[in-house]
Symmetry: C2
Subunit: 705 residues, 2 copies
Amino acid sequence: MNESAVGTLMNPASVAVIGASEDQNKYGGRLFKMLLSHGYRGRIMPINPARESLFGVKTFADVAATPDVPDVAVMAIPQPRVRETIEACAARGVQAAIVITARFSDAGPEGAALERDIVDIARAGGIRLVGPNCLGIISPANRVVLCPSTALAADGLPVGRVGFVSQSGALMGTIFDKAKEMGLAFSHAISVGNQADLELSDFVEFMIDDPATSVICTYIEGLKNPRRFAELAARAREAGKPWLAVSAGRTRAGAKAAFSHTASIAGERAVFEAVCREEHVTLLDSPLTMVALATSLADHPRARIDRIAVFSPSGGEAALAADEIEVGDMHMASFADATCEQLGAWFPPSQSCNPVDIGGRTVGDGPDVVGAAASVVAGDGGVDALLFAITTSPTLDRLAADVADALAIDAKHTPKKPVLYVFETGRLADAARTSLRERGRWFSNNLREAVDVLAAWHARSTYSSPGRTERPHRCPSEASDMTKDRVYGEGETRRVLERHGVTVNRERLARNEEEAVALAEAFGFPVVLKVVSPQIVHKSDVGGVRIDLYNEAMVRDAYRRIHADVAERAPQAHIDGLSVQTQFKGKLEMIVGARRDAAFGPIVVFGAGGVMVDLLPVRAIARAPVDEQRVIELLRRLPLWPLFEGFRGARLDLQGVVETIVRVSWLAADLADHDFELDINPLMVSSERVCAVDARLRMGKGQPE
Amino acid sequence: MNESAVGTLMNPASVAVIGASEDQNKYGGRLFKMLLSHGYRGRIMPINPARESLFGVKTFADVAATPDVPDVAVMAIPQPRVRETIEACAARGVQAAIVITARFSDAGPEGAALERDIVDIARAGGIRLVGPNCLGIISPANRVVLCPSTALAADGLPVGRVGFVSQSGALMGTIFDKAKEMGLAFSHAISVGNQADLELSDFVEFMIDDPATSVICTYIEGLKNPRRFAELAARAREAGKPWLAVSAGRTRAGAKAAFSHTASIAGERAVFEAVCREEHVTLLDSPLTMVALATSLADHPRARIDRIAVFSPSGGEAALAADEIEVGDMHMASFADATCEQLGAWFPPSQSCNPVDIGGRTVGDGPDVVGAAASVVAGDGGVDALLFAITTSPTLDRLAADVADALAIDAKHTPKKPVLYVFETGRLADAARTSLRERGRWFSNNLREAVDVLAAWHARSTYSSPGRTERPHRCPSEASDMTKDRVYGEGETRRVLERHGVTVNRERLARNEEEAVALAEAFGFPVVLKVVSPQIVHKSDVGGVRIDLYNEAMVRDAYRRIHADVAERAPQAHIDGLSVQTQFKGKLEMIVGARRDAAFGPIVVFGAGGVMVDLLPVRAIARAPVDEQRVIELLRRLPLWPLFEGFRGARLDLQGVVETIVRVSWLAADLADHDFELDINPLMVSSERVCAVDARLRMGKGQPE
């Protein structure tokens, strides 16, 4: 047994059920009954002072009266009695307690205070807590059921290799019931409730090391400790144990609903998603899709998914499947000639070369033909996975099972390659469903759901290993000098960037008109003039910027107009002078920013700027510092990427963009201990080079000096 | 009874079942049994020369031997016998025949020839045909089952108000079975097979007029007659009868699969989708989603869907539902204060104001509370639809039925507003599912599917009525002069556009350098020079274009360089001169094109041009001529729309763009009888005006003159 408290919780030698009864309308009654009926091998000690025995099991008046110290106490009792019960458990030396009872931090400040109290009591007494406001633990791997969900009322507790940690108890019970119907099963499932003590990450950590768990699933509403989440994700990635997650709140409406419902804090979603991708935590939209993918991953942990072979008794259904596959960014496999030739023995040519139309037109007409055909296709090196989209068919009852038998490479009916079965029919397919369940194979009842599984798998297949993160040359840290809460003006920010090796356009301060003209002539036309004043942050708003100055006369005119406009619109501002800058014409404007994310620390953010901000609002995010390979990967996923691939022969300076982002990320990393926000807007990008032509940096609360 | 052949098919007074047997492994056996067992009220005449009777029904040796002329003959017989059987039916005076038998045009040229033969024979004999290669007709409304699908083996033939016409038989059977499980039902369902005679549109036309059908569903792989489809769609729209469609082939992979499977011709998908939208035919991705939406539309034909109220016993599930709703472009409803106040009597504040968390925390805890709460929410003017996402819950069995009872406004349990029930649990919800089915209410077992229904309904809610289409002023037709197969050069195309009222930039032909300079000075700098030669189509490729000419010297230089480059790269070309044009700097380049679509006739196509072609490749399509209101609607749905809404204070000339597109559409309409292709690329758009600065027109095969 695992020596940790979590290990004890997942496989206790003895359990005290506080609040046990025979009443199946009550949480304590159901919990007790389900522990009894699912084959728990340890000692059960029901606590109920009013009864001698419950379902024939001897009861005890309280936890102090138990003959042995129970490893774990689970309680489904009125909220006002929880505190004294935890005290009693502490006094008895119980190692861990599960508090099913709700109305703590989930129900307002009073409950939250009580929750803090019981955590304090538990800690002082050496007890680790699950909950409160949770549905407890189901461990099919260990035959431990400490959970009152009605989903457990049915017989059978199939054992799988998928671990599930859920911030929602009802969702856990729901998925548990649905999964069973679909032939999916778990090693362990835990509802963590309010996470007053033990939290989601504690159970994930257990599962990373747990040999009974091959793939980890999580339902997340908000992270208690984001940094720990990221560290564990890196550990799971390094250990090669896939981690999948559904996280409510991917939209504003969802976030609002999720956070009114739990006490969890919202980090910035986009950063969370970026971290998940960096650490190979796959995010899915539906818990069931997650568990289905996890189950297939348990069989095929190293499969890369892209080229799908489709089988269906209906040409129409096959065509819809092909549509879904392409929408899911995958490909219909191109069969090898030899494959088509072999299939040609059973099917006419137009129905044998993916999709395979196994409808009434097979020669021989039996499902044995389909099994043989599936084996041929599974042996094709150009096929990553097989999808059976099963409609009404005279052979419906046997078809899926015969295919599963034909493809099985072991007693568990594991196929050589991933095989997904979809039953689009209703009750007509029940016998077929049962036959797959009996073989330990799962199925979906929904084409989209099955393709979603493949699509998420495909997305996982594109993950890359992290590259080496090295500080670039000529990129010294100077963060120690930058600790004051203030806003850096454009000129100062440029100098910070320059020292980190970021290219900026030429710029000097002109204190009078003649200096401005001289600088312009020295730089070469066209130039830009910008007002410099500590009081003016938004220079354009007060007429403080003039661009496209092609000759001396235009510079002189612009110089005067800026002074006149600023005098009128910002009369209180002290003008230090005008900044004369070379005008850099790029083919693309980008925004490159950096800041400290409250949850995950320093990050860089980049995407399209200028006129394209509204058209292509998607930005890429990476934790800082970032390496070149990752930046290129992220750029490839941005909608502006075609510009870097070469448009009408005009390629952009990709290397310059990548280097700028890497250098900014090192600046961000140097500032990791501070609250800060940096914006280069725009970074001009041409075919030959890049150039930051405006930038601003805020440190701390950012008082302007 | 409807007097048409289709009317007869849907409700025949008598049916001859050719190939009837008792063998349920055979199509003819199943078909006969299912006709018997589902309560058909007409006369059944099984044709089987080998038997006296089948299941106690007297048989006949052939169709000639029947006592009365059967209205309809249905045949599931070997392919080689179909021709003689059709001949016999013609001789007997049968009005319509359903040919279940396959291996006609679906199986290659030989089958196609035989198919043409039997159509000829049928026509000559006055018989209308369904099929071949089809699964026939199911009409619950008339208790007529002429279909061998195994989906009909189960008892019961629930009657609904949704008609379904399918190009896939297996898909029809599949959906029929699944629909039954989900509480969905049909008025009629038809599998049209190869559509050798009667086709999808014939049955849609019947349903438009059929009082038993409130909503029409279709599964489409390829249109036999696109123009008729469009006409019927307009008729259905005008009649206020919703028409929904799933059409395989929305991706290249799907189209390839669909068209290898049927003999149908691929029209251009994007045009088909545009026509569907114009005529309010809603396209969906899944047949089941389609039938579910249709069923809800039958209850609420005028409902507009956007603001959704979510109920769930699980806060987590509710949050996931809120996410899906926002992803589906809809909104979580904001409850009125009075609604929140009333709900406050039963739920704590954080769980009562959408989503409504009906989990264990209700006061009273019974489903009666949920029914009452649902009634309050259904009465809120800010709520368009209610979504119940049902997870495990102690009250699971009664919850949905109690809500359905509370919201019922008639004996059919029709609610005042659309209500969708989702059961995310597995078998645990079976009793609840049954209770809804018994009430004639449907449910989904998949959150995404239910939200897809709402999202498609929401999309329908944004349809607008067609505007008035009037020829703009100063837009004479001149198509009669433009019938030759040839390519119009830039100059000629400009003049055609100008005559249709489209603004083009100033342009004149210069025959020598001095003329070029004089024109440039007359137009004002900057100008553009372009070579004009009948042999040169792609001017830029041979160095034939120079832009940004700001003064006389630049014009002279450009003039000489163009001549030098063209002489070198296209030595055989005869140069008419150089076109001198004003250079128009826009903030946006657009492409506006027009052509004749093979399926639907003249269309206009428009979208982003220039550098944005690769970034924003989505284009809008409308049939020509198009009215201003529709153009604005389509522009709003393009990703470039933010530029028209005003970006950094710079609005673009929307009116100019709209007018240009309308005028081009009239030109396209004028050319409707010809094969043609017109491209304005680019149309430059600034804040004040628009200007076509390059254009080309191909008529017919487009030989250059």
